[in-house]
């Protein structure tokens, strides 16, 4: 897409979105502000998305001031198997996720009602309800805010890319040569900072809409309290006999897609690879941990019960204390 067309779409989208949102009465900036303590979700209607990339351009403009500015030359890593990832010379890339492109349009050529059609899908972080990236980040750099936004603290992230490895969609993208690791052991640990969509967290805090939603000329995206968004998605899916993605994926996300085409077909049709996430059904990646945590909470009670049963029962029999030999205990 040429920048000329995108700019035009951008302006057109801003006006249309403002009018549309005001008219809809469903999701307004004030509603977002009022609901900032509540879990927010976004609804993306793929039957409305035309793939104009206005959202992509708006995302880039809104977040440009936060893009990484790496120190050059970027120091080589040790051991050599750890590769430097530098996107700073390719900031214009818009056909995949990068540290400079947190949202892109994925395209799928599919058949709808016997007619070949292109479905366009805005792709970015899904903002999982129980995000493995935030749960498993060893430094607490990735976090889930109270309003459900999952974001990465770029002043704390060391760029180990664990978040990308545990993300079912491999969303976060790394830029080397920037961040805290440069002040610690720049060759031996870390490798930059991970970047991804944070749903324009600062704008949300100000009661504004995320840039991508604000400019969408087709009003294909809306944001609001999760329960309302889920209800909206189900209503829309019923209207168009459509399909939902994101409600149950990875135990539940806060990005809900509705498509006229089954997501299994979309997944087959989209280009997948680095920075280009799939659309497969995803089970709850933290499910096994869920069961173990329950056992973990029962363990202290079980331990005390076992101890009391053992030692008090023993005492009742012959009233002999257990050995007090300190050496043996240690």
């Amino acid at each position: 897409m040429s920048s000329k067309v995108s700019r035009r779409n951008f302006l057109r989208g801003s006006i249309a979105a403002a009018g549309g949102l005001a008219a809809s009465g469903v999701v307004l900036p004030t509603a977002v502000k009022a609901a900032s303590g509540k879990e927010l979700a976004t609804f993306i209607d793929l039957s409305k998305c035309v793939g104009c990339e206005a959202c992509v351009e708006a995302c880039r403009e809104a977040n440009e001031h936060r893009y990484p500015e790496p120190e050059k030359p970027i120091r080589k890593m040790f051991p050599p198997r750890v590769k430097v990832e530098d996107w700073s010379e390719n900031r214009g890339e818009m056909e995949r996720l990068t540290p400079y492109n947190w949202l892109y349009i994925q395209r799928a050529k599919v058949t709808v009602d016997g007619e070949e059609k292109e479905i366009t899908i805005p792709r970015r972080c899904m903002h999982c309800q129980n995000p493995p990236c935030a749960n498993l980040c060893p430094w607490g750099a990735a976090k889930r805010e109270d309003n459900g936004v999952v974001r990465i603290n770029d002043s704390l992230c060391l760029g180990g890319a664990k978040c990308k490895q545990v993300c079912p969609w491999s969303i976060p993208q790394r830029q080397s040569g920037v961040g805290l690791y440069l002040d610690l052991m720049p060759s031996l640990a870390g490798n930059g900072v991970m970047y991804k969509c944070d749903r324009c967290y600062d704008r949300l805090q100000e009661g504004e809409l995320p840039a991508c939603i604000e400019v969408c000329p087709e009003k294909a995206q809306v944001i609001g309290p999760r329960d309302e968004i889920i209800a909206l998605a189900h209503r829309r899916a019923k209207e168009i006999n459509g399909h939902i993605y994101g409600e149950k994926e990875n135990g539940g996300t806060n990005t809900i897609y509705v498509s006229p085409v089954p997501f299994e077909e979309l997944n087959k049709a989209v280009e997948k690879g680095p920075g280009k996430p799939h659309l497969k059904r995803v089970g709850n990646t933290m499910a096994a941990e869920d069961n173990l945590v329950k056992a973990l909470f029962i363990a202290p009670v079980a331990a005390v019960a076992a101890g009391v049963g053992r030692f008090w029962n023993f005492a009742n029999k012959d009233d002999k204390p257990v050995n007090s030999d300190e050496k043996e205990e240690n």
Binding site: P79, R81, V82, Q129, N130, A134, N135, L136, C137, P138, W139, G140, K143, R144, E145, D146, G160, A161, K162, Q165, V166, A189, G251, G252, N284, T285, M286, A287, A288, E289, D290, L292, V293, A295, L296, F297, A299, P300, A302, A303, V304, A306, G307, V308, R310, F311, W312, F314, A315, K320, P321, V322, N323, S324, D325, E326, E328, E329, N330
Partner: protein, 153 residues
């Protein structure tokens, strides 16, 4: 059944305690993205060390075993009667460190559960507390072993 002359944990209990402790420390450090980077996961049979979900599950299982043994031991100690003086202080330091480690671990484990949300500030403080307490526990254990060895010589 422990009779006089037997320890609270018994030989196998102590072995299991040390094994669970080793598993906790190993899989805890395995949460850092270092095992693949530094070739440990390349060693045949150790590829699993680079899978964060696997190491997390082992961490939880080892934690359950560790808690069971610690709780059991604590009841035994109380039943036997707490010591006094320097020995009591040593017990309290060890018990305090373990209790704080377990408390921070519980908070993190609860946070990781589906349907549970713990605010980002509490979560951040707990992550670092768990890490720093682990380092303190390892330092205290190393110091204790060094002092004990010196006394034995």
């Amino acid at each position: 059944m422990a009779a006089q002359g037997q320890s609270i944990m018994g030989t196998w209990g102590k072995r299991l305690y040390l094994l669970s402790l080793f598993a906790l420390v190993f899989t805890g450090f395995g949460q850092l993205p270092i095992f693949k980077r530094y070739y440990l996961a390349d060693i045949p049979g150790l590829a699993w060390t680079a899978d964060f979900y696997v190491t997390m599950i082992i961490h939880y299982v080892a934690g359950i075993v560790f808690i069971l043994l610690c709780g059991y031991y604590a009841v035994g100690i109380v039943r036997r009667g707490l010591p006094s003086g320097a020995l009591l202080r040593k017990y309290l330091v060890r018990a305090g460190l373990i209790a704080l480690l377990l408390a921070s671990g519980f908070i993190l484990a609860a946070r990781n559960m589906t349907g549970v949300h713990i605010g980002p500030s509490v979560s951040f403080v707990t992550v670092w507390a768990h890490f720093l307490l682990t380092m303190a526990f390892l330092f205290a254990s190393a110091t204790y072993l060094r002092v004990r060895r010196a006394r034995q010589q």
